[in-house]
Every structure is written in structure tokens, then in C-alpha cells.
Symmetry: C2
Subunit: 337 residues, 2 copies
Amino acid sequence: MTATVHRLAGRPAPSLDPMIAVTAHDMNCVNSVILDRMQSDIPLIPKLAGHLIAGGGKRMRPMLTLASAAVLGYGGTRHHRLAAAVEFIHTATLLHDDVVDGSDLRRGKRTANIIWGNPASVLVGDFLFSRSFELMVEDGSLKVLKILSNASAVIAEGEVNQLTAVRRLDIGEERYLEIIGAKTAALFAAACRIAAVVAERPESEEQALDAYGRNLGIAFQLVDDAIDYVSDAGTMGKDAGDDFREGKMTLPVILAFARGDSDARAFWKDAIEDRRNDEAALAEAVSRIQETRSLDDTMARARHYGQRAIDALGIFPAGRAKDAMVEAVEFAVARAY
Amino acid sequence: MTATVHRLAGRPAPSLDPMIAVTAHDMNCVNSVILDRMQSDIPLIPKLAGHLIAGGGKRMRPMLTLASAAVLGYGGTRHHRLAAAVEFIHTATLLHDDVVDGSDLRRGKRTANIIWGNPASVLVGDFLFSRSFELMVEDGSLKVLKILSNASAVIAEGEVNQLTAVRRLDIGEERYLEIIGAKTAALFAAACRIAAVVAERPESEEQALDAYGRNLGIAFQLVDDAIDYVSDAGTMGKDAGDDFREGKMTLPVILAFARGDSDARAFWKDAIEDRRNDEAALAEAVSRIQETRSLDDTMARARHYGQRAIDALGIFPAGRAKDAMVEAVEFAVARAY
């Protein structure tokens, strides 16, 4: 199966490489800021933060800030510090997420909470979060501060929303979209939008970049949630079935439940309500999701949001940066299975 | 035993009441902001936050912002929102602290982590923390944002510092002062200092209020750490012996260990390194702390910092607000045993 978003036939598979290339020079500067500002006199802080920060993440969110600045032809350096702030917010969220979910594996490595314990992960997350605000304050734009402090509050609300939705079969697609719009897409949107603020572009361009980031973020999370029902720890660095075992109501499950007969619904009830979620149950879940085409349709939803992200870029001039941002979307929705 | 900080003979016991009276009207406004801004469409957020926020805290830190503004004769309303931001930072810290320490009781009530679980406490803490920055951004002073974002990072560093100092007998008074200066005094200092910023007073007055808050914060924490070796859950709302059982190196223990003979040191080694901390061990710890006058001297240290706090107010005009701030210090260092 492959995802296509209006691609010309015969082109190679979409890749993140063009976006990495467009942002490579700036990303070196961002990495310097990140390394410099995760330091502390308390040795555990850089040790724990560095484990995750150096842990092979794609730096997707700061890369979006840089690519957005490139599409606007911004020639300054303010976005380096702000992209680092965005990455710190994301890293703080990951540290807290792994505590909340009790995760033991991320990107194929043991999580910080497993190595150093929950208390250290909570507190170093708080440190990185505070540090991200210090970076924004140094930049000095109240508009950027407003965008990112609002995104942070929305992320936390989304995480609490998700927590209260766990193991509840009555969660539907609308509530699910609300959750991923907050916990994932809000930071994608903000990461892109702040580039327009530092480049002093009109509101319409801020909104276009916000829409690009938001729709990409939703697509990205939909694909992530699909992957959880196809991947294995070896290939993706994330344990397949994590969401299933945690009783998270992601779209593949929501669709399979809604489309299922009474037999299927009884199965999902037992599984989601934590009475049956062993390996055999996971295998049955995967097959029920496939039978109902719920994975295909989760990917179709992702392509829908991906297409919206691409169309939001319409107002920007053609060029290498814009092409890279388009291809990043295509990559995001094609990366699954 | 009573603590005295150059008081006239015959005066009644010092009280927080004058400071409560001086700030009462403003505090109503702050409480409105707090109630309004802890709301969210996700019902668990106001429920959990409200449990702690309505849980009988003294609102010491926002009160300090208000009292500081009063001593400067500030007539505006900007400090209401900022005092609420300070309280949100503090509340977020308490939520995370209780998770980190595994506490089950605060101010005589069950903690949020016991009622709603660690994940919810971590995430609602994150929400309140983000919300506090939104409040500061609405105020719009980059100087205030700088002071409070720095204080937040310092607090998180102090908490990690404390975490890595747990169960370690080699922690001395200097390291202890570093920890409490960061985890407690930094927010006291910032809470006072921002009043001078909104009142647009000269740097010297900012520094004086910072010094007042910082020294009061250190005194406050010293007394808190002394109380842990005299109080019981019924009277203080905090379990006596919590620090002892958690292996925290607070000043009473640091002094008792340093002043003890080889017998005493063997006892402390077993106790702090978690081989012996039952009720009998706690009783022995209390008696060893008393024998070595370690509790008296912890209180003497508190009075020293309290006196410095009072002297920092020297540059401000006499009046009801200043008297209240002086008496708040006297109250803080007299409240122990």
C-alpha cells in the first residue's frame, strides 16, 4: 500500500531529505543553542536531557520553523533560538509523556524514566520547559511568547483530555481529533507560525503557516496511530501495540469498533477495558482492524489532512523550500506500512 | 522555645494577620483571576487544580507580590494577574513535588496524586505552568517574564539538585543552602521583585525586594525543615518525619551528623541510607537532633536570614505595609515549636 497526494507518476518515494537539506545550515546553529542551553550545574540535567535530545529524533518541529523561515526568505538568525525553544517544549512533553504512559522504549532506546526514574524525568522536563521560556524571553517577541505559551497550555489540555479518554469505548472520531489537534498539531502549527512573526510577514502568511503545521501535525499523528497496529519495536523504535495495551482510543480502533458487528464490539469492549490485551488479543485486533479497512481509512484521513497542509502553502512562491515542505507532507503520509 | 528578631518586649506573638489585612482587597482580585484561569473544557483540570488551590494554602507567594506593591504605593491592577501567575507556578511545583516524593498528605488533605494518580498530577501541573506564562504574556512586561522564567528554571534545577542529594550523608550546609535557595527562595524573591517592576521603581528597590523575598524564603524553608522533626500530621497537615523517611539531608540532620560521635554517625548512616527509618528510628533521630542543639541552631539560622530580610526593607518608607512585611518575617521564624 502506498499513500499518494497528487504526485506525478514515476517520481521516487517522497523523502524528508530535501527539508533536511534546506534547513541543514540553520539546524547546526539550532543544535548549538540546544546543547548550550540544556547545560546546568546539576550534572543529572544535561545527562538526562541529552539522552533524549541526542537520541536520534528527527528534530521535526524545529525543522518546520526553519523551513517556514526559508519559504519566507527570512535572512536573520532569531529563529535559531526559537526553534531550540520549540524543541525544548517537545522534549519536556516527551519526558512527561513517558512517565504518564509508563513507557520503557522510545526510538529503540530505553526511556529516561526507566534509566533515571520518574521523579528525575518529571523535574528535568520542568527544567526544559522553563528553559524554553527563557529562550523566548531572550528573543523578546511578545507575539511569539503568546503563540508558544498558548500552544503549551493547549498541549497540556490535550494530554489530560487523552488521559481521561483512555479505556473508554464511547470516544468517537470527533473527540479523537480534538485530542490529537491539541497534543500534537498545536506545536506543529506554532512552530511554523512563529517563523512568519520573526520575518514580520502579514497575518495571512502567519495563518497559512499555522494551517500547514496544524494539518501536517494531524496527519502525522494519524499515521503514528496507524503504525502502532503494524510496526514492531525493531523497525520503528516504538513497540507495536503500545496504544492497544494502554487502552488508547485511536482512530483505527474507533473505526473498527464503529464498523464491527456485535461479536467485534464484545471483543473491543474486553480489550479496551483491560480484560484482554495479550499478544493473541493484539493479533485479533490487527486482523479486525484490517477486515474493516480501518487502517486504510485512517491513512486516507491522514492524506486528507496532508493535502490541506500542502494547499495551505499555495500563497507562497515556488522554490526549493516550498518543494521540501510539500515533500515532507508526502513523506509523513507515506511512511506507514 | 520562641524565636525573636529584635522585638520589643511585651508585644503579642507575631502574626500573618497584618499582611493578610494589607492585601485583602487585592487578594480578592487575585483569587478571581486564579478561579477564572484554572478553568478548562477538560473537566479534570479545574477539579484537580481546584483541590489544591482551594485546599487551604496561605497564598504566601502572591501575598508577597501584593504586599510589596503596597509598600511601594503602587496604585494599579497589573499585579493581580502576575500574583495569580506566581501562585500557578507554585501550585504546579507542588503537584509535581508530591509525585516526586510520593506524598499522600498535604495540608491535612489527601494529595492530588493519591486521588487522581500521578499522570493527572504531572499533566495538570504542566497546564498550570503554561497558564502562568500565558498570564505573564498578557501582562506584557518582558522584564517580568524574564524574572519569572528564570525563577522557574532555577526552581526546577533546585528540585533536581535535591533529588540527587537524597540519601547522601556527604551533603553539607553549603549544598543544602544552594538547594533551598533554588527550590524555595527563588520564587519568594521573584514574587516580591516583580512588584517593583510593575510599579516602575529603580533597580535598587527591585534588588531590595528581591533580597527581602530571598532571605524570607530561606528562613521559611529552614523552619519548615525544622518542623518536620517536631510536628505531627494532626497539627501541621504534614507528616512529621516525612523528610526523615525520604532520606532528605535537611539542616537538622546535617548539623546532628556533623556534631555527632562515631555512634551517632553510624546511626545517621543507617537511617539516611534507608536501612533503618521506622518510628523508633525517628524518635532516636529527634532525640539526637535535640541533644546536639541542631534544631535550635536551625532556628537560629532561620532568624539570621529573617533579620536580613527585615533589614533589606530599610530603604522603604515606614507604614502599615512595611510593618506587615516585617511581622510576616517574625511570624515565619516564630511559627515552629
